[in-house]
Amino acid sequence: MSDEPIRLTLPVTGEADAEAIRALRSGQRVLLSGTLYTARDAAHRRMVEALARGEELPFPSEGAAIYYAGPSPARPGRVIGSAGPTTSSRMDAFAPALMAQGVRVMIGKGSRSAEVKEALRRYGAVYLVATGGAAALLARRIKSARVVAYPDLGAEAVHELVVEDFPAVVANDSAGGDLYTEGIRAYRREADV
């Protein structure tokens, strides 16, 4: 990670952007600027139910980036409260369906299922991790926030966030790279597994 981080603009629009996403490799640091949509457990359930009814996602899905997060409430006059990532594996069951709708970037924390990794390959998508618990630091990189769907879900509502230089690391790339297994293998000292 001594290399300079790679700058990405979201959403992913056009072939050059799509190629930049496909070219990312596990372990690379990135800085994200542009638009992200927050969604976690309850919002994912509703989105997948909406798709099953033949409806559309509540945001432009082509090339979209989803951030698995449920921010804390904003103080008056502030953009947002704290906004770190939540555990991504709870969204594993829903992620392939969203990639099929055009979602190309997911940001969260923790490793993903085999089905999600396979979908990353199929759609040329990427899974990034932000530092779990670095929620105040990440919140400073969020320049605006507004609820775009499911306001009744409170912290779990879908928020549209505009971010600037939001730091993340590539965990799973579209070529099968997986930082969780590679990183741990490099530092493990046990003989038994």
Partner: protein, 280 residues
């Protein structure tokens, strides 16, 4: 008897909720700084640097250190010569949680029914454990317990023949399986002995010792070091992305148990280990 008012308990509980969530304790910060020197993985060092910076920003911006401001968990030591006036202990603590989580702009993460899952809207009810102790003081110890780490808790009723080696392997396996979910570097509370629920409770309570505070019992201190080393050998590192520092500390509690039992409980605290205490 010494009188303590429910209003005073409420105010103290509210203050603990807000302060612990906005300001990472000196003990945890010092441990993170120390880990930064020890960590060999560049990604790991970068994450540790972010965490130290995050704590500074949280206090400066008056936002929570982590957005998951958790279950509000209280361990209460109630002096036998304390007379609580103006309300019950439980009501007073819950009123404090309600106020702290609302006025402190903390996230409300509690659902009233585990199956219907409607948010209670004010982070109550708190999880409250009360113990009666000698004296005329009331001690409130608080932790904000996020689900990422809480969901990784484990308890096993081992066979006594499994012994220390079995305990060690169980702890290692729990941390290995938890992976990045509980946001390492961790603080681990491990209890060995007791019965089922006493073991779980003691593991949780063991977390409350200040990180870096020496274990006074040399034999237990040695066992803690062994567990810490075993856990750090897993190589999970900061964020679970690989590295030397998987845990900052292991706090061990040994309890009397049954001739046919060897319970082991593992409580996980993430690096955003928010805790504090007040004495009334």
């Amino acid at each position: 008897m010494r009188e303590v008012t429910a209003a005073a308990v409420m105010a103290a509980a509210a203050r603990l909720c807000v302060e612990a969530n906005l300001r990472l304790g000196e003990d945890v910060l010092a441990a993170l700084e120390e880990a930064r020197k020890r960590e060999e993985s560049p990604t790991g060092r970068e994450i540790l640097a972010q965490l130290v910076e995050n704590a500074r920003i949280a206090w400066e911006d008056q936002v929570p250190v982590c957005q998951d401001t958790g279950y509000a968990v209280f361990f209460v030591e109630l002096g036998q010569e304390v007379q609580l006036v103006g309300g019950t202990l439980e009501e007073a603590i819950n009123a404090g949680v309600r106020r702290g989580y609302t006025e402190g702009y903390l996230r409300k993460s509690i659902v009233g029914d585990p199956l219907e899952r409607m948010n209670t809207g004010d982070n109550t009810p708190a999880v409250i454990h009360v113990r009666s102790v000698p004296g005329d003081r009331l001690r409130l110890r608080f932790m904000a317990k996020g689900a990422g780490s809480e969901n990784m808790s484990r308890l096993a009723m081992l066979k006594p023949s499994a012994g220390w080696a079995g305990v060690k392997e169980f702890v290692r396996q729990a941390v290995r399986e938890a992976g990045s979910n509980p946001c390492p570097p961790l603080v681990l509370g491990v209890a060995v002995g007791g019965d089922f629920e006493q073991c779980a409770l003691a593991a949780k309570e063991a977390l409350l010792r200040k990180v870096g505070e020496p274990q006074p019992e040399p034999r237990v201190a040695g066992l803690e070091r062994e567990l810490l080393e075993a856990v750090n050998d897993l190589g999970l590192g900061p964020g679970g992305l690989g590295g030397r520092v998987t845990a900052l500390a292991v706090h061990l509690a040994l309890l009397p148990t049954h001739i046919a039992a060897l319970p082991v409980g593992v409580a996980f605290a993430c690096h955003a280990y928010r805790h504090g205490e007040a004495i009334l």
